[in-house]
């Protein structure tokens, strides 16, 4: 049958809206929560923006398994290669800066100028840590003088799977500032995004998924810290915790983590602040060192 040609007088039907379903980011894929739940996300003005997946204990378990699976491959890449990939994240984010700026404007009620500043800072943060990947070993490691006929070298090594509680009030720049240093050094991450503003995190996951970051290196959960947090804190296969966004529960999580000798980074100054608290362009190594272990090698001279 011949295709019917639309005549000039027939009105075009209104286009159906294509709304995004905000899901989790686990092992390089975007699944819904295994629990099937979601929760409404509103802007700071109270407007409904979207529904986000409400991650459960089992999603956290799956995220840790995905992060563990990705650790061997990611940590054994050359630091230079990890740097290239982190730089690629910055490139892709730059190409989508309008989307992120508009998101920040809508969700947090920022002016466009302020939103642009935040997005620029987030992009620069990826570049900053991309540069650190192959320099951190020289700064933190080195040849140690010892009183004996030995060469003695120390080198920092990634600790493993890091559970990151992202800052609650800084959904993009804050998240980037805590996530990038964790993966720059070769760790893999399970991130619990800001509960009230999780959309930027899932948008960022889309950037990560298209930037050659291997699946499982970053796993992103959206949901409630009191529900997911205790299971991540006590999980024996989590090697370190970044408690920046854990709020009042930080002490409790630190206690649970002690049972399995998990490294802990306590919430620092600015943890409760907004994006502005994260604008310092040179955060240094402070967020990398807590997730590194020092390996020291002794080698006899002359053998």
């Amino acid at each position: 049958m011949a295709k019917q040609r639309r005549t000039a007088e027939a009105p075009r039907p209104p286009r159906l809206a294509v709304r995004k379903t905000y899901k989790l980011y686990l092992g390089g894929a975007f699944p819904r929560s295994e629990s099937g739940r979601c929760y409404p996300v509103t802007s700071t003005d109270g407007d409904h923006l979207a529904n986000a997946a409400l991650a459960s204990r089992k999603d956290a378990r799956d995220a840790v398994a995905a992060a563990r699976g990705a650790f061997g491959g990611w940590s054994s890449r050359t630091a230079y290669n990890r740097g290239q990939i982190l730089y690629r994240v910055a490139e892709v984010l730059e190409g989508r800066r309008d989307q992120f700026a508009a998101g920040a404007e809508r969700a947090q009620g920022l002016s466009r100028t302020a939103a642009d500043e935040i997005v620029s800072a987030a992009i620069d943060r990826w570049v900053y840590y991309a540069g650190w990947t192959d320099k951190v070993a020289q700064v933190l490691g080195g040849a140690n003088p010892v009183s004996g006929p030995y060469y003695n070298h120390s080198a920092p090594e990634p600790t493993g799977v890091v559970a990151v509680f992202a800052p609650q009030g800084a959904p993009l720049l804050g998240l980037t500032s805590v996530l990038a240093p964790v993966i720059a050094t070769g760790n893999t991450a399970v991130v619990v995004a800001s509960e009230s503003a999780p959309l930027a995190a899932i948008d960022l996951a889309e950037v990560l998924a298209t930037s050659d970051v291997p699946g499982g290196v970053v796993n992103l959960l959206t949901g409630r810290v009191p529900e997911i947090g205790p299971h991540l804190a006590s999980h024996a296969d989590v090697n370190a915790l970044d408690l920046t966004g854990a709020g009042d529960l930080a002490a409790e999580f630190e206690e649970a983590a002690a049972a399995t000798l998990t490294r802990v980074l306590r919430p620092g100054p600015g943890a409760d602040g907004g994006e502005d608290a994260w604008l310092d362009p040179d955060p240094g190594t402070a967020r990398m060192t807590p997730f590194l272990e020092t390996k020291t090698v002794w080698h006899p001279i002359g053998v």
């Binding site: 378990r61 999980h235 296969d237 399995t260």
Partner: protein, 313 residues
């Protein structure tokens, strides 16, 4: 569906062919659907704890690598007797499964534990060796102290329609086993169809197998749920027709507690609760045991354990 278990003389290939091809065909879609349905059963809390302990007792802890050293076999035996040194309430595994030349090491290491040694034999995994070699392989393993023999059938002969050769080999190996239990590996991944799995199951049962086992673990796919379902139906039908009980051992690809519990559900629903014992159901596995131990710890402590706290094997 009742299976015609008419008494027959397995004296000719023709008689076997008439019997095996007279078996009702397997409804492939039905088998898959049923296996999928059974996989959705929810086993939680106390039932899960029971199931995990039961699965541990059914594990044939296996190492079948060219690189198996006596040390590795001894380490595996130590783990078989005391799977979790931090928790002595964990039951022992069903058996340890090794290559024939490692049987003596395993028997020595397991002395006094009550755990049997199973040995693969008959030119495992391909089975491509003359019958005399296969029988010598079996006799040596039994002489070294193996209490269970895992033989492979001649898949080439089976697929060529030479059922008599397959049958006679099983009978001969069974005789060589003496008092040792015989598990017959069908290598279902090479049998292509579910109909063939059903035929091979009945052939092995008739030839005197004490157990029928899915796979060597060297071929993929291995112990898929529908295949195990068809094999469980075969032992159930054999029991209904003759009253005899034959065991089933899935092996290969069962790595998680969830997989293992699904197998147990299938055993209970298809063959019946009588089969829920290590005498009639075993799971051939190596990495499964650690996952069972981790799940057990998770149930008792409420926190997620990590693989760093368990042995590498």
């Amino acid at each position: 569906m009742p299976v015609p278990h008419t008494a027959f003389e397995a004296t000719t290939n023709r008689a076997l062919r008439v019997f095996l091809h007279g078996l009702p065909g397997v409804d492939e879609v039905g088998a898959r659907t049923r296996a999928q349905d059974l996989a959705t059963r929810s086993i939680k809390t106390t039932a899960k704890r029971e199931a995990i302990d039961m699965a541990i007792r059914m594990v044939d802890l296996t190492t079948l690598e060219g690189a198996d050293t006596p040390g590795k076999v001894r380490a595996l035996c130590a783990k078989a007797a005391l799977p979790d040194p931090a928790d002595r309430t964990v039951p022992k595994v069903g058996a340890v499964c090794v290559y024939p030349d490692r049987v003596a090491t395993a028997v020595e290491a397991l002395r006094g534990t009550g755990i049997g040694v199973a040995s693969v034999a008959t030119a495992f995994p391909s089975g491509r060796a003359p019958l005399e070699v296969k029988l010598a392989d079996t006799r040596r393993a039994v002489a070294d102290g193996a209490s269970e023999i895992d033989m492979v059938i001649d898949r080439g002969a089976f697929l060529a329609g030479d059922y008599k050769k397959v049958y006679d080999e099983i009978v001969a190996v069974k005789e060589a086993c003496g008092s040792a239990h015989l598990k017959v590996i069908l290598e279902t991944g090479e049998l292509v169809t579910y109909d063939n799995v059903r035929r091979a199951s009945h052939l092995a049962i008739h030839a005197g197998a004490d157990f029928i086992k899915t796979s060597t673990g060297k071929v993929s796919p291995a112990a898929t749920p529908p295949v195990v379902l068809v094999m469980l139906e075969a032992v159930r039908d054999h029991h209904a027709a003759t009253g005899g009980r034959v065991g089933v051992k899935p092996a290969g690809g069962i790595r998680t507690s969830k997989d293992a519990i699904r197998q147990l559900v299938m055993v209970n629903e298809v063959a019946g609760p009588d089969w829920l014992t290590p005498d009639l159901f075993r799971i051939g596995a190596s990495s499964l045991l650690n996952d069972l131990l981790m799940q057990r710890t998770r149930l008792s402590t409420g926190t997620y354990p990590g693989p760093d706290y368990y042995t590498l094997d």
